[in-house]
């Protein structure tokens, strides 16, 4: 129900990727791993047009669009079907935790304020921040901010949530609470695409791990398979490196 076909993106002369295909079922959770500079972030950003792909087809739910002919309305519709969780949280600094979560429902979905705030409170409860409703981002810890970031994505009621290294900016003591919340979402069968270096999380939660290198998908398989029997030499090398780094 999510399908990328022939996605291409270049910055100037630098082709990040040329022809990416990827499919996801509803409720599926995939983790994308790969070396730095490989195009993982760019791929996620292409899925909701934070970067405009140079070519390719995107299908999300009932929406189908071609990168080269996408209209403004199609792009807005695509963004309503996808939600993004940023590495640096990217909360609205002028809005409280509650407002950050309610903002999209009010402005984008046109839900009445009362109703939107009620739903936002319910989400705050689910992310364990019911007591922080009126706190501004500046008064929240990194872990709390990222949970609000995830809450904002949950509020969008999207077909898929895209996570770009959601724990990479966090102080170590906050990583678990954020991963915990993501596991909770996974248990509720939220469709997600997660770029992360947290291999343990990938092992536990992912239905499928996708290894990307230099703008290509090298191989993809369930974590048990990919981690224990990587087929490609590049995957083997990458896993050796990252697992060694994770241990130390």
């Amino acid at each position: 129900m999510i399908e990328l076909k022939g996605i291409r993106k270049q910055f100037g002369n630098h082709v990040v990727f040329n022809d990416i295909d990827l499919q996801l079922e509803r409720g599926e959770i995939i983790v994308i791993v790969g070396p730095s500079g490989t195009g993982k972030s760019t791929l996620l950003r292409c899925i909701n047009f934070l970067e405009t792909p140079d070519a390719g087809q995107l299908t999300v739910g009932d929406l189908n669009l071609d990168a080269t002919t996408a209209t403004r309305d199609q792009i807005l519709a695509l963004r309503r079907r996808t939600a993004f969780v940023f590495q640096n949280y990217a909360l609205f600094a002028n809005k409280t935790a509650l407002q950050n979560i309610a903002e999209g429902m009010i402005v984008v979905d046109g839900i009445a304020k009362r109703e939107a705030y009620a739903r936002a409170r319910e989400i705050l409860g689910r992310i364990g921040l019911a007591d922080k409703a009126d706190a501004y981002p500046a008064a929240l810890s990194g872990g709390q901010q990222q949970r609000v970031g995830i809450g904002r994505a949950m509020a969008a009621n999207a077909d898929v949530i895209l996570f770009d290294e959601p724990t990479s900016s966090l102080d170590p003591q906050w990583v678990e609470e954020v991963l915990g919340l993501m596991k909770q979402l996974a248990a509720e069968h939220q469709t997600m695409i997660v770029v992360t270096h947290e291999m343990q999380f990938a092992r536990e939660v992912a239905d499928r791990v996708v290894f990307m290198d230099q703008g290509s998908i090298i191989e993809q398989a369930p974590p048990s398979e990919l981690f224990s029997r990587p087929k490609d030499g590049r995957t083997q090398q990458f896993l050796r490196k990252i697992l060694a780094a994770n241990k130390s």
Binding site: L50, R79, R80, L91, F92, N94, V108
Partner: protein, 224 residues
């Protein structure tokens, strides 16, 4: 040299103060219009709306590059000769118009700087949940940018209050115009202009207090 005529000065205070409201009204009206126009110009500059951006650049360049007094004369004496329907433009309107255009050019640049200073990731976050550029500007960027720009904008407001004194050259009897008339009647120029100087000074000082108070509040904003 003669001693200061204190009695004359004290008597002048209430007379001149009765013209203060007009001065403040012109400044307030000018500020309100300038703010709206400046936000518009700033948004055009930031989003680089093709054609409009070039116009905004030209506008800002002209109104920052020429003296306010010249602009006022251009509107009051010059424009009605070209645009004959403007014959009826009065001095107060011309002053407000001049202040608006002149100060909006400066204010646009500080608002633009404040907008650019807002962390780009918030823009992406807003777009990622499906907001349009207009919604993003109105709900996320401008509220933060105006806060950042407020101290600077207050400076322009203070400057604008002082600049209303130029209205007397268009025949408007505001604070400065009234002083000019009183002084011409009494020949006590030093006393009269000293009184008006102190009135401007007190008004500006009062505003500086407001500005400090506002800044403290704004610094505390978004911290809870």
């Amino acid at each position: 040299m003669h001693a200061l005529d204190i009695d004359y000065m004290l008597g002048l205070v209430p007379i001149l103060l009765s013209y203060l409201p007009l001065t403040l009204e012109m400044a307030a009206a000018g500020m309100a219009c300038a703010l709206v126009l400046a936000c518009l110009l700033a948004v055009i500059r930031v989003s680089r709306v093709p054609g409009l951006n070039a116009f905004a650049l030209l506008f800002i360049s002209f109104f920052r590059g020429t003296p306010l007094l010249v602009q006022l004369f251009l509107f009051y004496y010059g424009l009605p000769q070209v645009l004959t329907f403007l014959v009826a433009i009065n001095g107060v309107t011309a002053t407000i118009l001049g202040l608006t255009l002149h100060f909006s050019a400066y204010m646009a640049e500080s608002i633009r700087a404040a907008i650019v200073g807002i962390d780009r990731s918030q823009t992406e976050a807003a777009l990622s949940i499906g907001m349009t550029r207009a919604q993003l500007m109105r709900r996320i960027v401008l509220p933060q940018a105006t806060r950042v720009a407020t101290p600077t904008l207050m400076n322009y407001f203070i400057d604008m209050i002082k600049s209303t004194s130029l209205a007397f050259t268009l025949g408007v009897t505001e604070l400065m115009g009234a002083t000019q008339k009183e002084a011409a009647g009494s020949f006590l120029y030093f006393e009269a202009f000293l009184v008006v100087a102190v009135i401007y000074w007190i008004v500006v000082e009062a505003l500086s207090w407001v500005q400090k108070w506002l800044e403290q509040r704004l610094n505390r904003a978004y911290q809870r």
